[in-house]
Symmetry: C2
Subunit: 427 residues, 2 copies
């Protein structure tokens, strides 16, 4: 979800550096001590010896297509991988999330560590991985397939190094993160899943570097608005109302909305469609729109303004032309609803993530994104989205790819692993 | 092309009845004398004995798909049929029109009698004919496939009845009548074809009854206007110009154009498209629009107004949002241009068509349409579009069909045949 974090990072004031902090915090001490330990050196050695396995697993999983709502085949494959690492309570839940537990020593919190199974690409997309130099190319390979095997490598590293943790860690591959999935995997986990009231911390791994700490969830509301009318022949029925003109009114009015710069709030017309032939007055046209904000009141206000302009746009067309054969009506369907949320920088999970980065020599940068973490954040559960390590590019495009740069990649993975271990109070 | 004549017929004042005429004209006398002749009775008997053959040929041709620009297979089949009727100079021209000559006795004019080969349906449409009661159903069966075998039956009737004509008659199946074809078959015939300067009369047969005489060609100009911009992420790039908003401006301005009621002039937004995903600012959107008029100056003025509003719509968006990443531009591509034209009711071809109808007991009705006749009409060549005889329905829809009602169908065909024979000065 590079493409989801990057925009926020680019956004004004969305990024703050914590470089100003002075004295080491308890989390800094804990992370530094962990990273300096002999066990962690073993864990790092495990990651290094696993590098080729990680790459092979990325290729294997990438080549099992996982379109929105069709993640089952990949879910089964990943579930088998989780089981092979010796996790307990391995299962696929009702919506397709797959998960397995690495039990703690007892009395500790439950931490969810997850990456998403789904890609944005429709069924039938060619997902064969192509290698070129140190690059691997295939739709979905970066976002978020590359994160799934890193989690497996974390488990092996913990096992080989002999780490025990106070916390229980539930490793997961979740469904429905991308657009149309509307976070349904995570939504289910926190609303109906069997662990729903037990989760204390939630870490979502997405492509990128772990120094980028996403501790704010940009909220979004997405609508598909359909304008309907009688339709007819361009010549014989000329003069009757047209959904195209009604939609034009709505588009222009939408474009005039003022959105606050802080918290950043935006809107977009993403997809336009309608009509059947050049000489037919359409009986239906539609626009699919996106509204986002880092602030809930601002998102609510924007949504209200958008929904409020639709009746006028339609009424204007019904007044401009004949309704003898029927009026224009509209239907605004909510197709996406990602809650706004954030985990304060004072929360333990964010302090640990920052400390693990700093202890690894990486300056943490905080930002907002739109990821699975939006759900726990909106519920007040401590959550963070971190980069799993690989440099990836062109997410959501057919030219999607990732680079293989072992020293950098392994260093990045180490930051993620140190975050999990510190948070879980590993020994 | 029921669907093309009907709208014009529904339009105000597009239809005038010639019932008011008093004394029989020379054409009335000629048509009446022809229809009363023993030879014409033989010709009618030939049509009757041919009815099943006509139906079988309609089925055969319908089941050879003929999408726009892909009429060759059907053209070859129809060319073989023209040859089998003993025509000379049978050929397929450079654009795919197929034709053959029935030579006259000499010194007479050249008459083109044609129906179009193409349908509106894309390749791969199921064109298998389904029979239900006295109905035959398949996409394209009515418009205009049903007219092609009627022309073959005319040739056989003329031959069996022993008719000679002073005129040379070129029977044809032409390509490109429907929307995207933009009349390219007839356009070629009159601009580059080998008979181009020799054609004196042009009769186009389309579905319907021959009492409906289309002697005016509604002109149309069709544009696909594409709006282009930098595109980007709905969050990260918010604030940059969007082709969606520019197009919205153009849609609203287009909807405010005033079109004269007489001669009837109309406009329509037929198809809207654009964008790739809900959270991407589109890099491209497009609208496909139709403008039509029964008057050339009115069509020219409407086109000028439409093209004139586009720069303002784009400039408005370029002023409303940031162009730092690029400006909105547009491209207006002419995708259809059917010339306005008409053949006056005083022209011989129209007088003959009216006389043949009246002499057969059918009251002629004159109207405007958008057919192959637009081309010769716009060039001042006498042209008319007549119904070939069958009652057809749901043209351009997947439920397209035709009725088999032999007495009525044969009567209608007789009117068409009498028109051709009278015009050709048959003996």
């Amino acid at each position: 979800m590079h493409s989801k974090i990057m925009p926020a990072l680019l956004g004004a004031a969305a990024l703050t550096s914590a470089a100003a902090h002075a004295a080491p915090t308890p989390e800094d001490k804990a992370a530094a001590s962990l990273i300096a330990s002999a066990k962690f050196a073993k864990a790092q050695a495990s990651l290094k010896s696993d590098y080729d396995t990680i790459i092979q697993d990325i290729i294997t999983l990438t080549e099992i297509e996982a379109p929105p709502f069709k993640e089952t085949a990949r879910g089964n494959a990943y579930m088998a991988m989780l089981k092979a690492e010796g996790l307990t309570d391995v299962e696929m839940d009702e919506v397709g999330n797959v998960m397995g537990m690495r039990k703690g020593t007892g009395g500790g919190p439950l931490i969810v560590v997850t990456a998403h199974l789904d890609t944005v690409f429709p069924a039938g997309t060619n997902v064969k991985v192509r290698r070129e130099g140190n690059g691997l190319y295939a739709p979905g390979i970066g976002d978020d397939t590359s994160s799934l095997p890193v989690q497996l490598a974390f488990i092996r590293a913990m096992n080989r190094a002999g780490f025990t943790t106070k916390a229980d860690i539930l490793f997961m591959g979740n469904v429905g993160e991308e657009g149309p999935g509307d976070l349904r995997g995570t939504r289910h986990l926190f609303s109906k899943g069997k662990y729903k009231d037990k989760i204390k911390y939630f870490i979502s791994f997405e492509p990128g570097q772990p120094g980028r700490i996403t501790n704010a969830g940009t909220g979004s509301r997405r609508y598909k608005v359909t304008f309907n009318g009688p339709g007819g022949h361009s010549m014989g029925d000329f003069g009757i109302v047209s959904p195209a003109f009604a939609m034009g009114n709505a588009m222009v009015a939408f474009g005039k909305l003022k959105a606050p710069a802080e918290p950043k709030t935006v809107y977009n017309i993403g997809i336009l469609e309608g009509g059947t032939s050049v000489n037919s007055i359409p009986f239906s046209t539609a626009m699919t729109i996106d509204m986002r904000s880092n602030g809930k009141p601002e998102l609510d206000a924007e949504e209200k303004a958008f929904l409020g302009l639709l009746p006028g746009a339609v009424a204007q067309e019904n007044a401009a032309r004949s309704t003898a054969k029927g009026k224009i009506t509209y239907d605004a369907k909510l197709i996406g609803d990602r809650p706004v949320g954030s985990t304060p920088e004072t929360a333990r999970i964010i302090k640990v993530a920052g400390a693990a980065a700093r202890a690894s020599g990486v300056e943490p940068k905080y930002g907002a994104g739109s990821t699975d973490s939006n759900i726990p954040m909106s519920l007040g559960v401590e959550a963070v989205t971190l980069g799993s390590g690989f440099e990836t590019f062109r997410a959501h495009s057919l030219e999607e790819g990732m680079k293989m740069n072992p020293p950098e990649d392994l260093k990045n993975m180490g930051v993620g692993l140190a975050t999990v271990l510190t948070l879980a109070q590993a020994r």
